[in-house]
Symmetry: C2
Subunit: 256 residues, 2 copies
Amino acid sequence: MHKPDELRSLVESYLGDLALTPELHGQAEAVRYALTMGGKRVRPVICLATAEAAGVEPERALPAAAAVELVHNFSLVHDDLPALDNDSMRRGNPSVWASHGEAIAILAGDALLAEAFRLALSYPTPAVGRELAQATLGMIGGQYLDITATAPDEGTLHRLKTGCLFSASVGVALWVADVPEREQAPWRAFGDELGLLFQIVDDVLDDDGYVLTHGADGARALADEAADRAQSRLADIPADTSVLSEIVAVLAARTF
Amino acid sequence: MHKPDELRSLVESYLGDLALTPELHGQAEAVRYALTMGGKRVRPVICLATAEAAGVEPERALPAAAAVELVHNFSLVHDDLPALDNDSMRRGNPSVWASHGEAIAILAGDALLAEAFRLALSYPTPAVGRELAQATLGMIGGQYLDITATAPDEGTLHRLKTGCLFSASVGVALWVADVPEREQAPWRAFGDELGLLFQIVDDVLDDDGYVLTHGADGARALADEAADRAQSRLADIPADTSVLSEIVAVLAARTF
């Protein structure tokens, strides 16, 4: 089994070498800028670890893992736009619109989404792409609820904005590993816990969201409960999920 | 065989009844606004006519045809944005950003693209989605070349901006109809002529583009040549392509 850091290296190397569609012409530059701004690559690492736990070489899951990361990056590029969150900085660098202009940033987000589907559709089954389409639509719905402040509750908002794509990180790996649909439930129950864990820890580190509604200690306790639930979901899966367990521990304890 | 007007009614009815992903929540309203602004539905009609000529009921091609139309609508919604073409009107109505604001319009375009892939992936084969991803990436590259004025030539620009999606209208139908790849060449040669024909006639009607570079009579002559080439490509296809031939004649003679 590969360690999380090894999986992350696989992801970085795959993304660094990724051949973009030649018809993008000069637009590819902003797409690559968005992709190489880094980040923790949490979602694709979860995807690769799930695939390996389910019995296939992580390399076989790389296009699916990269597709999930591209959807994540698509959402960041569009969310940063002046009309949405108006963020001119992203991970210490100018965001795509701040560095390339709004028009190129809109097209870069579009291209990231279309490239994500191209990668997801490199498999013989359409199921990888279906999983990605559903997650993308959920994220868009979540972003709508957020900017219009019309979410019925905090849980629905985060399940859509963050949870969908974490769940899909597990889901696409199950299709790549040919896990039959009737055996997917325990894996999916695990995947459904990850988004909330990630979101609460994010809020604890940023001192917002769940910290505002539950206090710092309350939010920390919620994060620990989410991590416990994720670990106990893993225990229900009849496979060696030790690397996924390590990832959960790292997500719960992360300090950046 | 269904007549073009009958095929168009099938498309309108399918789009009108289309169930959008529930997770879009209120965002669905702007998506539906963009979809019901109308237009000629040229691309989905070509898709259905190709599918029927290739031997399947046009109804089977409706999700693929709608997917192509949604990609077309996605591109219109994003191209109309202030940062791109800054068009506040579209087909006699306020464009999506002018009626719903820029943030909702950006998300509406994103949702149209993701819904398009959801529809394309309702088939057992991933080939429909692959065809759509390639066409979308080509269109994005074309839009980049246009706004940055970096196109190597007029032909490349229009092949990407317009031609890709017309070609895909034929291509997705071939996959739906299970036309083996080795037999697709004559169909694809036909599809590749349609975008140019459509574009030149558009320019003649709008008095720009090809009219500026070739004069009104020159552009009209180019359109007639493109229509002749499309008709002679149809003659190479071993199937009843009479409805496609009628569509070419309508495209060449259209006055709006």
